[in-house]
């Protein structure tokens, strides 16, 4: 995904004089030629994330469309006040693209995990959140993010589905229909969800654009599944609870949220092993969905 993003970003830099990239050493090697060709639009500030986001905000003030990029915890958590004030409070916006996701570099452990990132964007106004499930989904999402004048956060991951999906803008893509629950899979967890629910009587819908969440689509799908909803998200468990709960304020519903656990595991190993520990592999998702459906 990172390579797909960098390739498309390099193309956008050539095609659109409004596009700028701000880096903090991470991925700088993917932009060397572009930096030489466009020294004021491709900026590597060194390992300085506050400056990276602040400078991106300054580029936006000059009328450019900045793309800032780093490891998720440094981009979003370390520099969160910069995101809030240097874009939001200035009345500008930008595109933020992270790598690392929730446990991609498992050997790196907690310092490089960022399961809380999407929840943080939920505290701001109108940020779109894109969570591609496959490298081929990255370029069209990036194009949308750059064309828009709203804030966009794109969360790249080493975890991915086997195949890309063309998701209609801001709408859930229904992949399977059933009667007992509507299961929404976000980004790279789709394959696990499809495997986990292969023989269950549930609707499976996919999105790689969880913000804004397709509330209307979800309500329609859930109406045919007894208003039982399962959210399976590759970031902090329960991140979307507030949205689903608000969406169903007018009718009784049941909600199961499956995501990355809140506890610090203090374990290394591989991303696949962390997925298992969080109950996000097919086996874990299946067990929790079956319990939710009272299939014991």
């Amino acid at each position: 995904m990172r390579d797909a993003w960098a390739a498309r970003t390099n193309e956008l830099l050539e095609a659109d004089p409004r596009v700028a990239v701000v880096l903090a050493d991470i991925s700088a090697d993917l932009f060397r030629e572009a930096a030489a060709a466009h020294p004021d639009r491709v900026i590597n500030v060194g390992i300085r994330e506050q400056l990276m986001v602040g400078a991106a905000g300054g580029l936006a003030l000059a009328g450019l469309r900045p793309i800032a990029h780093s490891y998720a915890p440094f981009l979003v958590e370390r520099a969160f006040e910069q995101i809030k004030l240097d874009f939001e409070h200035q009345g500008t916006s930008g595109v933020l693209v992270s790598v690392g996701a929730s446990y991609d570099w498992a050997e790196g452990s907690f310092t490089h995990f960022s399961p809380r990132d999407v929840a943080l964007f939920d505290t701001l106004q109108r940020w779109r959140v894109f969570v591609p499930g496959h490298a081929a989904e990255v370029p069209p999402l990036l194009d949308r993010a750059v064309r828009s004048d709203e804030g966009a956060y794109m969360r790249l991951s080493l975890r991915h589905n086997e195949n890309p999906y063309a998701v209609p803008d801001d709408a859930l893509l229904v992949l399977r229909e059933g009667r007992r629950a509507t299961v929404v899979a976000v980004g790279p967890l789709l394959d696990n969800v499809l495997e986990a629910t292969a023989d269950l009587d549930v609707t499976v819908a996919y999105t790689n654009t969880p913000r804004p969440l397709d509330i209307e689509g979800l309500r329609e799908l859930a109406a045919d599944t007894g208003d039982a909803v399962v959210m399976v998200e590759p970031y902090l468990e329960g991140t979307s609870d507030w949205l689903v709960s608000r969406a169903f304020a007018d009718r009784p519903h049941r909600l199961l949220s499956i995501g990355v656990g809140r506890d610090e595991l203090r374990r290394y190993g591989t991303a696949a092993e962390h997925e298992h520990l969080h109950g996000l592999d097919a086996e874990g998702v299946r067990a929790r969905v079956r319990k939710f459906l009272a299939l014991l």
Binding site: D40, G46, Q50, G57, G58, L61, G63, Q82, L85, Q90
Partner: protein, 230 residues
């Protein structure tokens, strides 16, 4: 383009009309000299053409106690002087920390320390990238504001890449809790900035520093004030 008939004494009176925050009773106008000299003699800005992409940019990073800034904006025709009398009221566009979306002529919203200089770095790059490399960015910070690490990220970077259209004014009233042994300017010059340390009350010295050529590097003016803030 500007109201040239306003004097420094008159703008000082304008500043006295504003009591933006009782927490900053004295500090509120100690930056007036620097901001006045900039708007009166240096900046290419025009209240009739607020969106002119080639304008110079003044970023008030030190957003605490912006009375001096508001007074200069009023004196130069960016905002009505009457606004100064209702400052910080619910319906007033002027608050204790400026909101750029509410104040004509304010380039950034500020108040949280340590944001203006990184924004200035990006803005300076952005002006060059869009063909306005002759436009200058002036960012005003306080000596205590320099405590914030984000400034030092920006100082080191801007010096390293020779961001020549970036200018900083440090309003130094000795208010940093732990001080800056060796002087504020040394933090910049070690990072390849050009620097001048002047008396905040010396308008000619401020003007000379604001207009001193620095074709290959950013420039800082450390404007030292005798005012004690607390």
């Amino acid at each position: 383009m500007l109201r040239v008939n306003v004097t420094f004494e008159q703008v000082r009176e304008l500043a006295q009309r504003t009591v933006t925050d009782v927490r900053y009773p004295v500090v509120k106008s100690y930056t007036l000299d620097a901001i006045w000299v900039l708007y009166d003699r240096v900046l290419r800005v025009d209240p009739q053409r607020l969106d002119d992409p080639s304008r110079d940019r003044f970023l008030l990073s030190k957003g605490h106690g912006p009375s001096a800034f508001y007074a200069v904006l009023a004196a130069k025709g960016f905002i009505p002087a009457e606004w100064l009398d209702g400052i910080a009221a619910l319906e007033s566009p002027l608050g204790s920390h400026p909101d750029a979306t509410l104040v004509p002529g304010a380039e950034i919203s500020s108040g949280s320390l340590g944001h203006g200089l990184p924004l200035g770095v990006g803005l300076a790059h952005g002006l060059r990238a869009t063909g306005f490399g002759d436009s200058r960015v002036f960012t005003l910070v306080g000596d205590a504001e320099l405590d914030e690490g984000s400034n030092h990220e920006a100082i080191a970077y801007a010096g390293a890449v020779g961001l020549a259209n970036l200018n900083v004014i440090v309003a130094d009233n000795g208010s940093a809790s732990h001080g800056w042994p060796g002087g504020v300017a040394s933090r910049f010059t070690v990072n390849c900035w050009s620097a001048a340390t002047v008396d905040m009350a010396d308008h000619e010295a401020l003007y000379r520093s604001f207009t001193a050529p620095h074709p290959d590097r950013p420039h800082v003016t450390v404007a030292v004030s005798e005012t004690t803030p607390h």
